[in-house]
Amino acid sequence: MPSNTRVLVADDSSTMRKIIIRSLNAVGIADANITEAADGQEAIQLFEQTAFDLVLTDWNMPHRTGLEVIEAIRAKNSTVPIVMITTEAEKRRVLDAIRAGVSDYLIKPFEPENLREKLDKLCPA
């Protein structure tokens, strides 16, 4: 993954954001290129204000869900990779996310290498 990749991480759990950021750091993304959002509304606002190369979002968040985040981003940008990282594992949920335009889907709990594999696939060096 290119080290200058600009990443938006949206999760209402600060613990999960830290775990995800640790994985991003491990694939060479510096903290300076990572922006955190603590809820869906903040994620949408940040995406409207800033250019990102990759979005990683939770599903269940206050104010706006991750599904709404995907829909809002896709209304403006059809190409930026979006990965949903969530405990929502049912087929109907995955299908909803695919319909909304998600690029990839990672179910919690996950091993760190599971996330790194997806990052390398979506943003190859």
Binding site: S13, N60, T87, E88, E90, R92, K108, P109
Partner: protein
């Protein structure tokens, strides 16, 4: 509550602790929790609703919560702070979500997690909801997963405010586990 509803929660907590914490759990004997009993010092709580209604409580001894957070965040935690609270909420979220996926027929939604911290706190379930407590030993201390799940057509008046808990269809909690 039907016995088969419990096994997804048992599989979920074992999987979450293994994957996120590298921690193996040793399961104890489950029991019906038919009255308010003190839980451990920290409890993460998530509500489930859909074609079934329920509550999931992950209750942990203080040292388990501290060690779990230290493992998740690679920082040694010695006191219960916002990071510990958030971590326990997220672990509860993963356990409930993972189990929910195995109970897809109920098309349930999850609430956001709440976390209660304090010695001798008591979590009261609705009186017509049988709660099953599954105790676990971890290398860091005791863990308990409490689950209450009622199919919606069977959950008349749920949540009830008072009254004696209804007789449980699960007369022997040992039958939960194969």
């Amino acid at each position: 509550m039907k016995a088969e509803y419990i096994n997804p929660f048992i599989a979920a907590i074992v999987d979450v602790f293994a994957k996120m914490l590298g921690c193996s759990l040793k399961r104890g004997d489950p029991y019906l929790k038919d009255r308010a009993q003190p839980t451990y010092e920290i409890s993460g709580i998530i509500g489930l609703s859909g074609k079934a209604i329920g509550t999931v409580v992950l209750s942990l001894e203080r040292e388990v919560a501290l060690q779990a957070t230290s493992t998740l965040l690679n920082v040694r935690y010695k006191t219960i702070d916002a990071d510990v609270i958030d971590s326990i909420g997220e672990l509860t979220n993963m356990i409930a979500g993972s189990a929910k996926a195995q109970l897809e027929q109920f098309e349930m939604n999850m609430s956001l997690p709440n976390v209660i911290s304090g010695k001798n706190h008591v979590i009261q379930f609705p009186s017509d909801a049988t709660s099953i407590c599954i105790p676990f030993d971890s290398p860091w201390g005791a863990v308990c997963l409490e689950v209450s799940l009622v199919e919606k057509h069977a959950a008349k008046g749920f949540p009830a405010k008072t009254g004696t808990p209804a007789a449980s269809p699960l007369s022997n909690p040992q039958e939960v586990l194969a």
